[in-house]
Symmetry: C2
Subunit: 196 residues, 2 copies
DNA sequence: GCTATCTTGGACCAATTGTTCCAAGATTGG
DNA sequence: CCAATCTTGGAACAATTGGTCCAAGATAGC
């Protein structure tokens, strides 16, 4: 017999995600969330809990609905190095132009913010997933003879993952996309077997 | 005839720097600064201006007195790749153990925070300086025949600089130092000329 | 030691912080 | 259409935010 929610919790969570993503967790007040979503404080707190809970849920949504698809696209692209190249290309594209330009990556940003254990867990997961995806792509590259000999695929995957953080971070501060592309290309070029 | 300050502005700025470095700009209140320094608000505001000015000065101090010496050590080390290796080793060491463990790099953290133009200028400088230093070290490596052929030194310097951001960022979130070392080593290994 | 000038302590401020609470409203099963 | 149950708007909350202000105190040239 109860009443039912007058809004779509998932759609609202997306708005909240975008807010936290763009402006950061610490610098975004509940008042702004209320303004952006149109919800009242009651509904907000009844549905998502306090600010930290809300942030964690928004971050989780980001990881699941923004990062993961990007990772999946890389995992599904069997071309090896060109796939990784395309991944970085798309990354830098979305980071530096369009709707989300200079927002950085919400997960990357979160590394610099608070030390909440829930957040840390999410970030570790996120990191592991990207590294595993990189490793898969590197294996494909290896199978196709694109890589120079003696490469440690695990370590290289970690290295490329860390590089992605650098790209994300600098893009938020307004770095030149051409410079980011150069940096990413250099990292990939150095993995490439010399065609002789 | 005037009175003179009852404290050492430089020493106080160091305390403030450490506070902002560890806890972040947005999450550190003036009240905490007052508590940590023992200064009164009057002295604080009279000497440094408002919070944002204070933060910028603290960040500038960090760049000059923390980052630059690290860069200089790399620039002065003419060994080439071993010098860069040592740089990353020291970096990971200080980021993951000792007094400043899990503080990350204040400049790296700042990339994820606000978009203040003064801050952005500092960060761009910081970035350029590290990249230039990396390039110098790479030139030394090249001169000593340590690098594989056809490497773009500028682009590689950018790539290694972005990698350093990744290391700094993940260290703040509590990343395993061994994994960071692996990642850094992989990046350097891929630059190395195969000894055959 | 007087006085001009600066510094200092801390009270005070309005604005904002995250959160709570409840009366009024909405919804749905019976 | 009733009533049980949930949601909603918005007032209210104490705590904290960054910042100001001024009387009291300290200093140094004369």
């Amino acid at each position: 017999m109860p009443d039912v929610k007058h809004f779509d919790p998932e759609a609202v969570l997306e708005q909240v995600e975008r807010l936290f993503w763009q402006r950061g967790a610490a610098t975004t007040g509940i008042a702004e969330v209320v303004a952006a979503t149109g919800l009242s404080r009651s509904s907000l707190y009844a549905t998502y809990g306090g600010k930290q809970d809300l942030y964690v849920q928004a971050l989780r949504r980001y990881v699941e609905r923004r990062s993961q698809p990007m990772f999946q696209a890389l995992a599904d692209d069997g071309r090896g190095l060109p796939a990784i190249e395309a991944f970085f290309g798309r990354l830098i594209q979305t980071r530096c132009a369009g709707e989300h330009a200079r927002w950085g990556c919400m997960a990357t940003n979160a590394n610099a913010e608070g030390a909440d254990p829930d957040v840390r867990r999410l970030l570790d997961q996120h990191h592991d997933r990207l590294r595993a995806t990189m490793r898969t792509a590197l294996e494909a590259a290896w199978a196709q003879g694109q890589l120079s000999d003696g490469l440690d695929l695990d370590a290289t995957a970690e290295s490329l993952t860390l590089l992605a953080y650098g790209v994300n971070l600098r893009s938020r501060a307004g770095a030149d996309p051409a410079a980011l592309r150069k940096g990413a290309s250099a990292a990939l070029d150095s993995l490439r077997r010399e065609t002789r």
